[in-house]
Structure formats: C-alpha cells, structure tokens
C-alpha cells in the first residue's frame, strides 16, 4: 500500500497531528512554567525575607532573656568580677546547693574552667560551706 491510502490505513494523519499537538503543548507548558520560575522564586524569597525579621526579633527576645548569662571568654583575674558573671547562675540554684550542681550548670552555660573558678570562689569565701556537702553563695559586697 502506498500514498494516501497507506497513510489512512496506518492512521497516519491522527498520529501526526496528535503527536505534534502533544509535543508542542508539552513544551509550551514547560516554557510557561520556566518563565514563572523566576517569579515564583522571587515571591518565595520575599516571603522568607518578610518571615525572617519575626524570627530574628524572637531570637533577640530570647537573647535578651538570656542576656543575664554573659559568658566570659576567660575567667577574670578579679574574683569579684568573676562572681558577677556567676551570680545569674546562682539564681537558678536553690540555696544551699551542692558544688556539683553549680559545676554542672556552669559547664552547660559554657563558662571557661568552672572547676578552677569554683575553687577560687571557695578560697575567697564567696562559696560558704553550710555542712552536709551544701554551700551558700556569699555575694561580694562591692558588686
């Protein structure tokens, strides 16, 4: 079979125009989506930008709450100043307290060398023994 007869017999016309329409519509849709991709991303980024300040302000609030926990990079040589840094930690503990609890919280907060500092507080009588392994915080007067 040849010519138009062969095309008709094989359903050629339908295959040709259906195929052409499918490939064209497929690429038109892809082209449209691609053209919108930039806008969608722009919209998403602006949404994220608008969303971020709320998150940031929340974070700032949290930091403000935690501002009391100022952790020094190194232990100040002045024991009174060191005690100033430790006073917010002490507030978290019920008086009297065990030194292990103070040590644990100090380490958790990231204070440098808490073991040595606590030992200095003991020597300076800032940590006063109450008996039964418990200690009381004796706030230095000049803070």
């Amino acid at each position: 079979m040849y010519g138009l007869e062969a095309i008709n017999a094989a359903n050629g016309w339908a295959m040709a125009y259906t195929g052409a329409i499918i490939v064209f519509s497929g690429l038109v849709v892809l082209s449209f989506v691609v053209s919108q991709l930039n806008r969608i991303l722009g919209f998403w980024e602006s949404f994220i930008k608008n969303f971020k300040p709320t998150q940031q302000s929340k974070q700032t609030d949290e930091i403000k709450d935690e501002d009391t926990f100022v952790v020094p990079h190194c232990v100040p040589s002045d024991i009174n100043k060191a005690a100033q840094y430790y006073s917010p930690v002490i507030k978290e503990l019920e008086q009297p307290f065990e030194l292990t609890s103070l040590y644990a919280i100090s380490q958790q907060k990231g204070f440098p060398h808490p073991h040595i500092t606590i030992s200095c507080f003991r020597q300076a009588n800032i940590l006063v023994p109450e008996g039964d392994g418990l200690f009381r915080w004796n706030q230095p007067q000049n803070i």
């Binding site: 079979m1 040849y2 010519g3 138009l4 062969a6 095309i7 094989a10 359903n11 050629g12 016309w13 295959m15 040709a16 125009y17 259906t18 195929g19 052409a20 499918i22 490939v23 064209f24 497929g26 690429l27 038109v28 849709v29 892809l30 082209s31 449209f32 989506v33 691609v34 053209s35 991709l37 930039n38 991303l41």
Partner: protein, 374 residues
C-alpha cells in the same frame, strides 16, 4: 593441500562480494571525514571503523557476527538493542548541558518544539512510501537530528533498521554545515539575519537546580515512554547543578558518556553488514532522513518568523534552525551564519537554548511515537 584450500575458502577475501566492498568504502569515507575533515569525529570515527569491522566477511556459524547469538559483538550490541547506550549517553549529555540561556529566555523553547514538525511530516512521507507504521516512525525520528534518540526508538520499534537509521541520523548530523545554511539563507532576509538578540538575564542557581526536577516531572508525566531518555538527561543535569555531586558529574560527562559513545558508535557501525544494509529500504531511509532534517530546520526558521509577528522584542529567525537537537552542531552553524552577515552578532548562547529544548522535544517525540505504536 585440502586443508589449505578449506582455509582459503573461509577467508574474507574469498567470501567477500560487491556489497562488502561498497560498505568498506562507505566506512573509509566516514573514517576519513572524521579524522581528516574533523566532521563530528567522536561519532564518525567509531561508526566508520565499526562499518569496516562489521563488513569483514566470515564463515557463518562461528559466532563472530553481530547478529549471531553469543558472539562478542552481539553482546556489545545488546546495549543498542535494549536502548541502554542511548540512555547512558543522555545521562552524560544532561551532565554537560547548561540550561541558563533557556531559563533566561523560555520562549525560545517553542522553536525546539517547532523543529520537531519535521518528524511528523516524515512520518507521513514514510507511510506514503510504503513503510510499515513502526518503520515509518523510526525513520521519522531522524528529523529530530538526535542520534541516540533515533537509535533508541528504532531499537524499540524496528530493530532491523537500526543500522541504516543510525547511519543516516549521524551522517546528517555531521553534514549540518552543508545542509542547514542554505535552508536558513533561503527562508530569511538579510534584515532578519541581522537581528541582534537582547542580552540574557542572569539566571540564579536555584532556578538551574529546580529546572531539571520540574522539567523531568512535566515531560515524563506527559510522555512516560521518554523516561529512559529524559529521566537520565534531567538526572545528569540535576547532578551538575546541585553542586554536591562533583565527582559523579565529572564521571558522567567524561568516562561514562565516552564509553557509551564508543560502544554505541562501534556496534552501530558493525551492524551495517553489506547483506543487511544495502537494500532498497536503506536508500529510502537516507532520502527520507534528508527530507526530515531539512523540514525540521525549515519549520524552526518559519516558526521563528511567525513568532516575530507577535513579539515586540524580535528574535533572529536563524535560531529556529537550532531547534533540531544536534547539539552543539546546529547552534554553532546558526552562530556562524549570523556572524557572516554581521561579525558583531553573537547568537551562540541563544541558539544553545533552542538546541537544548530540541533535545527535550525530540525525546518527547520518541516517547509519543513509541506509545502510539506499541
């Protein structure tokens, strides 16, 4: 003496006939064009040498020929008949493709769609010439100017035509500098060829990362039969753009695609045994391939001119010729034709956008035709 005579009757010299000689000549021309003229050497050299190897006559039954079960060549050819090599080539192609220009100007994607019209016109022509529907579809896909896609579809629909169709597809890809420029010049005026394209916007990394995912979903959902090609193509591109799989991308775009190309070209060449290849059908396929390729080029150019009727920011109609998926040959040719008119006109990046959409378009067409005819 009898043993010697028996041996001599089994040699290629004794068994050769005129068809082998013709094929050896064709193979030599391919090797010559690939090496001396450097026309698509990465394709023509393996194919050409494969033709030479495939046309060494041998005593049938020794398990030597590509069509004989259990022969080494037959096992290598397995990657062609199953569509494995084209799929791997597409993976590497995806890992090499930069879609930035396409993302910057998505309307150029329509030229990639328009250039596929050559496929459907050729489908009708092949049917009219008496080819069976599956053969006609395999021949028509030559219009996509995509070797791996042509081989993939032919392996699925008309495996007996892989040789001639692959040779036709790759020959026309290599002959882009000869075929396309006259059509481009014939269908455009000098004024149109001088159109400068506006500068492309900067494309963000996020767009480039999202595109292969979106592209794969949209195209493969539309034509699931194109998954073996477009699935790997977009996967390769995603690996390239995501930026965290550098080692995999490097392998995909070097070793993997090279290995697949070598075996694909060599075995396709070897499949062109004179007795199988030199038939009336092969001549018809070559003629229809030329028609398909020319119409694909012309329809891209004409569609670009039609688009210009509606666009404020005119596009250079030469870009339509790059809608065929011969990457990067047709884009390079569009650029050169544009530069011949005006050396300051740089069309390459814009043409690459059409080219890469042509790859997607022809793979979708292959999927569509396969699903029509299964």
């Amino acid at each position: 003496m009898e043993l010697l005579i028996q041996f001599l009757t089994n040699t290629g010299y004794y068994l050769a006939d005129y068809r082998h000689i013709i094929m050896l000549l064709i193979g030599s021309v391919f090797v010559y064009l690939g090496t001396a003229k450097q026309y698509e050497p990465l394709l023509l050299v393996p194919i050409g040498f494969g033709i030479l190897v495939g046309n060494v006559p041998f005593f049938k039954g020794f398990g030597l020929g590509i069509y004989e079960p259990n022969s080494v060549l037959h096992y290598l050819y397995f990657g062609v008949t199953t569509g494995l090599y084209p799929s791997i080539v597409f993976l590497g192609l995806g890992a090499m493709t930069d879609f930035s220009s396409l993302l910057a100007r998505p309307k150029l994607m329509l030229l990639g769609a328009a250039a596929q019209m050559g496929i459907f016109f050729t489908l009708l022509s092949a049917l009219a010439l008496g080819f069976l529907p599956k053969e006609a579809a395999s021949i028509a896909i030559i219009g996509g100017a995509d070797g791996p896609t042509s081989i993939f579809l032919t392996a699925k629909l008309a495996p007996h035509l892989i040789g001639p169709i692959a040779i036709a597809a790759y020959s026309y890809m290599a002959l882009i500098p000869v075929i396309q420029p006259p059509i481009m010049r014939l269908l455009t005026t000098r004024k149109e060829r001088l159109i400068h394209m506006s500068e492309l916007r900067q494309v963000s990394k996020k767009e480039r990362v999202i595109f292969p995912v979106v592209g794969m979903i949209l195209c493969c959902y539309l034509a699931p039969a194109s998954i073996p090609l477009l699935g790997t193509f977009f996967f390769g591109n995603f690996m390239k753009e995501c930026g965290v799989t550098e080692r995999l991308v490097k392998t995909a775009r070097t070793a993997i695609i090279d290995i697949a190309t070598i075996f694909l070209g060599f075995t396709v060449g070897a499949s062109t045994q004179g007795d199988v290849f030199l038939t009336g059908k092969s001549v018809g396929i070559f003629l229809l391939g030329a028609v398909a390729f020319s119409i694909a080029t012309a329809s891209g150019v004409i569609f670009a001119k039609i688009m210009n009727l509606f666009l404020k920011d005119k596009i250079n109609p030469l870009l339509g010729a790059a809608g065929v998926s011969a990457v990067p040959g047709s884009a390079r040719e569009v650029h050169l034709v544009g530069q011949r008119e005006d050396p300051t006109n740089y069309l390459l990046m814009h043409a690459m956008a059409c080219n890469s959409s042509g790859v997607i378009g022809s793979a979708i067409c292959a999927g569509i035709l396969w699903s029509f005819l299964v």
